[in-house]
Subunit: 207 residues, 2 copies
């Protein structure tokens, strides 16, 4: 998965492969992603595809990386409560569209769908896991900077650990999508941000 | 997966099957779980096993349900900070042993292992998903009661949403295990509980 070494690749072929794979994933789901079909749609030899992405798991995570890279960056309006809510709503929207991929529009099953398959793909192959963790490190960095600026301007308490705060927020969201199947609507996300900012202790116990 | 309907089952055979499957999962990992082998070790016909658990995913979640049911319940010492930390440490310990199943003892790869495979199994089959969500509903209920008692005695602010607080805590833990691969040691878990209780807002902004 390292793009910096080895023979130069045909980036146009890569592009066509990723587009065909994305199309397959979004219309037919993980079970519907077939490497041979993707090669045919992209007009490349199967060996070309396998050389670049040796398994379906490798190909799927590449599609996911490609989707995340195209997303809107974090916005900083100077109001950390609003900015964190907007950030979470963006993640929730993206997760929901990946989660629903390949399923009927009115499907009410709370299944995590492809989100769960990607998590399993990352757990099965050390190199796929490294790609996924790298993706999240890059994404989280933008939000960490948002939290750091809010701390600098005194909105958040001095010494706030940005990663810990983001773990609570993004973590609750992924936990609902992947584990409990509970909904993550806008109202929930706003309450979540409020809970993480205000804390659960009663005022008399507050440090 | 409904145990209340259909023909009466041989619960002794079920027990032997679950033990053999658990042994296979814990020593060989998800990839090493083979239904035919489990049937042979349990001394039952393959058709018996398939009638009860039609796929490897169904069998694996049954093993997981069985493991969770045997765990220590939530303890309530009257100090919510200590009790929530103890609760999270227990979950982290259980997750870590499932995560490492089938891998060499000194393996440092942060892979979520079987935890991720179980999440994907639940996403692939609506009935497996229902079993997993039911498992978590039952587990979470004990912790919800812990939070409610801390709210009643005034330790937590009135109106604290127990599910939201537990989403922040367990969510951060699962997010690290499944997504970012960051460690979840005791020190992290204590800081996490502190962050959720104290909130991130600076004192002057506190509501």
């Amino acid at each position: 998965m390292d793009t910096s070494r080895g023979r130069p690749r045909d980036s146009d072929a890569d592009r066509r492969i990723l587009q065909a794979a994305r199309q397959a994933l979004l219309t037919a789901g993980y079970a519907g992603l077939a490497i041979d079909e993707v090669a045919r749609h992209a007009g490349v030899a199967k060996t070309t595809l396998y050389r670049r992405w040796p398994t379906k798991d490798h190909l799927a995570i590449a599609v996911y990386a490609d989707m995340l890279d195209q997303e809107v960056p974090v916005t900083d309006t100077g109001d950390v409560r609003a900015d964190l809510s907007a950030y979470l709503k963006q993640i929730a929207g993206a997760l929901d569209s990946v989660r629903r991929a390949g399923r009927p529009a009115h499907d009410t099953d709370p299944s995590a769908g492809i989100v769960a398959e990607l998590v399993a793909a990352a757990a099965r192959h050390p190199d796929v896991g490294e790609v996924m963790r790298g993706l999240y490190r890059r994404r989280i960095r933008l939000a960490v900077e948002l939290v750091e600026r809010a701390t600098e301007r005194g909105e958040l308490r001095a010494g706030t650990d940005p990663v810990l705060l983001l773990d609570q927020l993004a973590g609750a969201l992924y936990y609902r999508v992947l584990i409990t199947g509970a909904p993550v609507g806008d109202n929930y996300l706003e309450r979540l941000v409020g809970a993480a900012l205000d804390g659960a202790l009663s005022t008399k116990e507050q440090r």
